[in-house]
Point group: C2
């Protein structure tokens, strides 16, 4: 143990880190990324060690903001710094590396240490890599799901809570904003928590935010759901799965999606809001996250199996993910499409898909006979019930319930990209479309993005408009157009399919 003078660095490190002078670290026999326990009065906090030769003097300890909070009142005071034993969970990570199947209590230990900042980035990345290579059994996946759920703040909404989820990857696929009001119209509870965009031009939370605030407390969410039956809020504002956010941080740099982690991450959040019935949208096809339909089916079976293990009835729809859905891509443009769709004037592919999903939920819950859910959903939409319900939701969340599609601010700069040839459209690539919309400024500029004027299989002639790009500034617009002219986002097919030499 050493007694060191605390020094607030006034810098956030994104996790609980302290800075030790190299000499003091040597004295304590701790290395970079080891853990120490800080004690100040009755308070104590575990932190990860970072080393410095000059940043802090011998006899001092530098506290990043994340540590400061919990050792408040100790500025300038002497802190006891104890060497912490390696947490037990490090052994379990090693076990996973060596190919073992982790048990519930081992997953619990890992996830508890993740949430409490007792694992360094090195250890956490190793856990993710091991999970990726070794894979999870269904029992292990259920154990991780339960561990994540247990460490989060659950919200109770009573019985018959329904939910939907899409694994993502399809531009413009904003079905949630239609499914939720349809479902809530028949008196079912649908407390929908959604994410913001990570790599796409818009997440559901980004799009909803065009219509109403999405950051709400648990208390407020409970009140809204009680009053109007549903909400569409940002997951990040509630503490449903704190472990998940910390794991995603290290999954991002290598875009690692270990399937067991993906499943657990999604289902733990569903469990946290007490979902009883969940429908999952799995888009497959060229340019989607999953190219092969059989892989999509396999994933679907795993969701269903996992649901059984943790007490959620799951149904999966394998959908066509080979091209974008709807017209608008980007928060404002998508929100406009949603308002149009609620008035019966929206893009038909988006409306059809939303009714498929909502219909499936209506059947699962027993509100509709098998095979009749979609028609019921469509009827709810056509009757104007869903539109009224959506406006109740918007109002409950603090938005303008009288908003009209034309009120939504778009652009103001815009340019049309035209076809340079004639032919039949063979493919519209989700990833390339997303890149163009992001270059235009989405999702940070809510009003940026694009309207897509064509779809696969359509004939186009030279000079026909393919899409319109919207941006806040001329510079952003130019950047997006330069990219659009470079990328084969809309691909025309010729007559010749193959050439045999």
């Amino acid at each position: 143990m050493l007694k060191l003078k605390s020094k607030f660095l006034n810098i956030g490190a994104g996790r609980a880190v302290v800075l030790l002078n190299k000499d003091d670290a040597e004295e304590l026999s701790v290395h970079m990324s080891d853990r120490v326990i800080l004690k100040c009065g009755k308070k104590s906090k575990t932190a990860i060690v970072d080393l410095s030769e000059k940043g802090v003097a011998k006899g001092e300890i530098g506290l990043f903001n994340e540590v400061k909070k919990e050792i408040s009142g100790c500025k300038g005071r002497v802190i006891e710094v104890h060497v912490a034993e390696k947490p037990e969970s490090v052994q379990y990570i090693k076990k996973k590396l060596d190919g073992a199947e982790l048990k519930q209590k081992e997953m619990d230990a890992i996830i508890s240490d993740v949430v409490n900042d007792r694992l360094s980035d090195v250890e956490l990345s190793t856990f993710v890599a091991a999970s990726y290579i070794r894979g999870y059994s269904i029992d292990e996946t259920a154990a991780l799901t339960t561990a994540i759920f247990n460490m989060g703040e659950g919200i109770d909404f009573g019985n018959k809570v329904v939910d939907k989820h899409c694994i993502g990857g399809v531009a413009g696929n904003r079905t949630t904003l239609l499914v939720v009001p349809i479902i809530a119209s028949v008196g079912l509870k649908m407390p929908k928590t959604s994410s913001r965009s990570i790599t796409s031009p818009a997440g559901t939370a980004d799009t909803m935010e065009v219509l109403a605030p999405v950051s709400h407390s648990v208390k407020k969410i409970q009140k809204m759901v009680k009053e109007v039956g549903a909400c569409i809020v940002w997951t990040g504002a509630v503490n449903l799965a704190p472990a998940d956010d910390k794991i995603i941080r290290v999954r991002h740099p290598l875009s690692l999606d270990p399937q067991g982690m993906l499943l657990a991450s999604i289902m733990a959040k569903k469990k946290s809001v007490g979902s009883d019935f969940v429908v999952i949208d799995i888009p497959v096809g060229k340019g989607a996250k999953i190219a092969d339909i059989n892989q999509g089916k396999e994933l679907g079976h795993k969701f269903i199996e996992l649901g059984k293990k943790i007490g959620i009835e799951v149904d999966c729809l394998i959908t066509d993910g080979s091209q974008p859905i709807g017209i608008g891509i980007g928060p404002a443009l998508e929100a406009r499409d949603i308002l149009l769709a609620l008035q019966g004037k929206g893009p038909q592919d988006l409306v059809g898909k939303a009714c498929d999903l909502a219909g499936k939920l209506l059947e699962m819950v027993g509100k509709a006979q098998k095979g009749e859910g979609k028609a019921m959903a469509q009827e709810i939409l056509n009757s104007g019930q869903a539109d009224r319900k959506m406006r109740e939701i918007i109002k409950a969340q603090g938005g303008n319930s009288r908003i009209k599609p034309e009120d939504i601010k778009i652009g103001p700069e815009k340019a049309v990209v035209k076809s340079k040839a004639s032919g039949k459209i063979k493919h519209i690539d989700n990833k390339l479309i997303a890149r163009i919309a992001k270059t235009a400024g989405a999702p940070k500029d809510k009003s940026a993005g694009m309207d897509l004027h064509v779809s696969s299989g359509e004939d186009v002639h030279i000079g026909d408009a393919l899409f319109t790009v919207y941006a806040k500034s001329k510079e952003k617009l130019r950047e997006a157009i330069v990219l659009a002219n470079k990328l084969p986002a809309v691909e025309l097919g010729g007559i010749i399919l193959e050439e045999i030499e």
Copy 2:
């Protein structure tokens, strides 16, 4: 691109990191652990992004010390911050995760990015985990070795350069300090670079430092080897394998020793000093790093095969690693043993083993006939030639060449640990002995450690001295003795081997 005002944080992060305000990061579309390129005048530097809500204001960028150096002269000035593409090597890490065998140019890209701080801890840890689980082919190991070697600063010593290496794990096993002067006595060049302790009570560099300074420049090392034929210096002071140090930093927290990395790390350093002949000591047995002799042999064959691929003749000795070697454990106590051994008065197991290793080298180089190397080494030692050569080396490195064993400062506090029973010594555990010596203060306190008075197979009676612990202070001594009384470091065997019920 954003223009941000630079702010020196005056803190080291251990790697090239910059702190961005969350809003600016969002503007740039960069996440935690992404990379940016900083440009200031003609200077440019890649750095890893860390995020902060309050540590730096919007419009500012915080520079940790490692970045400051290369963007000097830019304090308070505006820096251009560009989003860096993910380095190509991230793809290769992903390939390795997916089980592919990496090619030379892929390993080169990874190692170049490691050295130039273009990989985050997350990416680097993932590479280590993937290497650990997937393993390396011998070609891949050679590719990594070559990549590490290429990125380091090689030193040329001309022809017939010999070297030795021990994979470690045996307390007191300080043979290098005898092998080097024996070999240099016959006119061979042995520019030995050694490490400090990482987890043991003494590394070779720590022990040598009791006799002479070990941090020398490449120029100085070349001069010394030219003049006296050999040196025993600290690897860390020269830039032989900068990649290696950065990889070891992330291997440490989970004690991950992917075999391919271990082999490459050792052999790249041998190649860097131009070694032509290398003998490798692989201790095996209970309490050693490798318990099983067959595993030891397998490792030995890999060293030999790798040597062939990279042009080094390698011979391996599988040695008994089931108990400590010599008497003293800890830098000063080991240095004392070495001086005694050079005068013909040292521990016989240490002397015998050193002569085995030196003899093997003499045979490999053709100085001795096959089977006659050990006797020749012993003769060089007995004649006093090795003692004179060692004193030349000590002098060349700036130490006192007239130092006598009794000049070496030990303790001053000491206590004898006695046997609590009578019996035959069954096992002396390297790891437990090391823990006691470290608790006494070694290697940070050079004079701390222990003298071991017994060895396996010996009969002891109740009250016989097992070992003497030395420490700088009464507190340290007491801590070590408490531990010694708790741990079964010296284990007595009974007559009953097994009990069948």
